[in-house]
């Protein structure tokens, strides 16, 4: 089981063999409501940890997406173009957003499951 880490801006990340998968949390998708559109980076673009990498648009809001990790984008979830609702239906599975090639460790400021749960319960 790969451990999932969270950012304070409600993105999640898992890392397997040097590739990080990034999505938004179940809490975030529930708060946004029906996702209707995503603006995601192009493949091969480079992201900085903590920087905005796209926009997620729901029927009631448009929010920036912040990357928990830095690196080169190796894959973008193409399915979301036609089926953005996958983010609502399966935020930790089919609703992933991008895969990023990362070197080294995850940034230290990411939250584990328990800490993230505490964050969402506090808000």
């Amino acid at each position: 089981m790969v451990e999932r880490r969270y950012s304070e801006t409600h993105e999640w990340v898992t890392v397997e063999g040097g590739t990080a998968t990034v999505g938004i949390s179940d809490y975030a998708q529930a708060q946004l409501g029906d996702v209707v559109f995503l603006e995601l980076p192009k493949k091969d673009s480079t992201l900085d940890a903590g920087a905005s990498f796209g926009v997620i648009e729901s029927v009631k809001a448009a929010s920036d997406l912040y990357s928990p990790v830095g690196g080169r984008v190796v894959e973008v979830n193409e399915k979301l173009t036609d089926s953005p609702e996958l983010v609502n239906r399966d935020p930790y599975g089919e609703g992933w957003l991008i895969k990023v090639e990362v070197g080294g460790d995850l940034p230290p400021n990411l939250l584990d499951e328990a800490a993230y749960k505490k964050l969402t319960e506090a808000s």
Binding site: V36, F37, V55, E57, S58, V59, K60, A62, D64
Partner: protein, 429 residues
């Protein structure tokens, strides 16, 4: 409840909260020379005396009959069938501020939908919005779509894009942070190539080649088109343009001192999320009945906020309705006829004028539709002679282009009947 909602006391309170002494103080940001200090009107005139005075002033304006006006330059006199006003003057349309409560406004929603449909068909694009202010803002909005879509910061405008459209484009660019360059060669920094067809001088541009140049550079092609011309010319969708915009005044609206007019904008389906303004879609309710809704609203400014393409929230519904009635009433054949008659008259006039000594077509190798630039011996003298005979001659191109000092741009529509052409020719003899 008081009929007058603000008492002097209310006003004083509001001004005090703002730290101002008078309502005038609210206008402090407007340079004094731009503000009307006082109307040149005597005090104490009765309503009747005031009307007499104002009518007297109005009578000093020279109004040329439509058939004897040969000036276009972005605003055109055309025959407007009575059917247009018969529909637009209905109080349900005419008096209401565009109501967007769907349940109460199905008629309005349908009217907008019935406008979007022919605009999309005419431009051969997949989707058109509920309208914009005018051709100039439509060009600027189209350019902004391209800037947001490509993430690039330069817009290339072809020479002889309407000079006032270019000014508005630059003005939007200042606020939005994109540069405007005049030229025809977009590069890797360009978000869009904007080309007007026919251009401001009436000449036809090589749209397919220019579209390829835009796409080769990874830029979008924004075609600013004359809607009547699409009765004859290939529509933007056919040569691969990404966004089609234009001024819709010719579709059933009077020139009326330059507005209110109608901006139209249409695009390919992939760009719909970038399309600014209102968009009406057809839907089915729970019982399977047809209904009309505002759709894809999340892309708009009130939800997407600063990430939206544009902060435009409104449209010109009544003008759009006029266009919708005009296009429906004429149909594709009627539109083609209007374009053909205008084409024939303008070419007849061009041939007749070019025969006059000292007159020659400014760009004899270039094709045109119903507006053309012609070099004359002395533009001021030619216009003066025509004015004496009650004829409004062509537009002086030198006002914008120093190299076209003695060039007049003449325009014909279906309103310039053959006898009017004879009169113009006789006046120059």
């Amino acid at each position: 409840m008081p009929y007058l909602v603000y008492s002097d006391e209310d006003r004083a309170q509001m001004l005090a909260a703002l730290g101002l002494e008078s309502v005038e103080g609210l206008l402090g940001d407007i340079p004094p020379q731009l503000r009307l200090q006082r109307l040149a009107l005597n005090d104490g005139l009765s309503e009747q005396e005031t009307m007499d005075h104002v009518r007297g002033l109005a009578a000093r304006s020279r109004v040329y009959p439509d058939r004897l006006s040969f000036r276009g330059g972005g605003v055109y006199r055309r025959f407007i069938p009575a059917a247009v006003a018969a529909v637009t003057s209905k109080p349900e349309f005419y008096t209401a501020y565009t109501p967007y409560q769907l349940a109460a406004s199905q008629g309005t929603m349908q009217a907008i939908f019935e406008y979007q449909t022919p605009i999309a068909e005419l431009t051969a694009m997949e989707v058109a919005n509920a309208s914009l202010y005018d051709g100039a803002t439509a060009v600027a909005e189209g350019a902004m779509m391209a800037v947001v879509q490509t993430g690039r910061e330069e817009v290339v405008a072809a020479p002889h894009l309407h000079p006032e459209y270019l000014e508005v484009l630059r003005c939007y660019g200042d606020g939005r942070g994109f540069r405007v360059r005049v030229g025809t060669s977009p590069d890797q920094h360009s978000a869009a190539l904007v080309v007007q067809q026919p251009n401001f001088l009436g000449l036809l541009e090589e749209m397919p080649a220019l579209t390829r140049a835009a796409h080769d550079a990874g830029a979008l092609m924004v075609a600013c088109v004359d809607p009547i011309s699409l009765g004859l010319l290939a529509p933007p969708g056919q040569y691969g343009a990404d966004i089609a915009v234009g001024e819709g005044q010719q579709l059933g609206l009077a020139p009326s001192f330059g507005g209110p007019h109608l901006g139209f904008i249409a695009c390919r389906q992939e760009l719909v999320r970038r399309l600014p303004g209102r968009l009406v879609g057809e839907a089915r309710d729970g019982g399977g009945r047809r209904g009309y809704v505002l759709t894809l609203t999340a892309r708009e400014q009130h939800i997407r906020r600063e990430k939206a393409t544009s902060n435009i929230c409104t449209n010109h519904s009544l003008c759009a309705l006029a266009a919708s009635v005009y296009l429906t009433y004429l149909g594709p054949d009627g539109l083609r006829q209007v374009a053909e008659i205008s084409f024939a008259r303008a070419h007849d006039l061009a041939a007749r004028l070019a025969r006059r000594p000292g007159f020659e077509l400014a760009f004899p190798e270039r094709a045109f539709l119903n507006e053309f630039p012609i070099r004359v011996p002395d533009a001021g003298a030619v216009l003066g002679r025509l004015e004496e005979r009650g004829i409004l001659g062509g537009l002086r191109a030198g006002r914008w282009y120093p190299d076209l000092e003695d060039v007049l741009v003449f325009c014909c529509t279906e309103l310039n009947d053959p006898a009017a052409l004879d009169e113009l020719e006789a006046a120059l003899r």
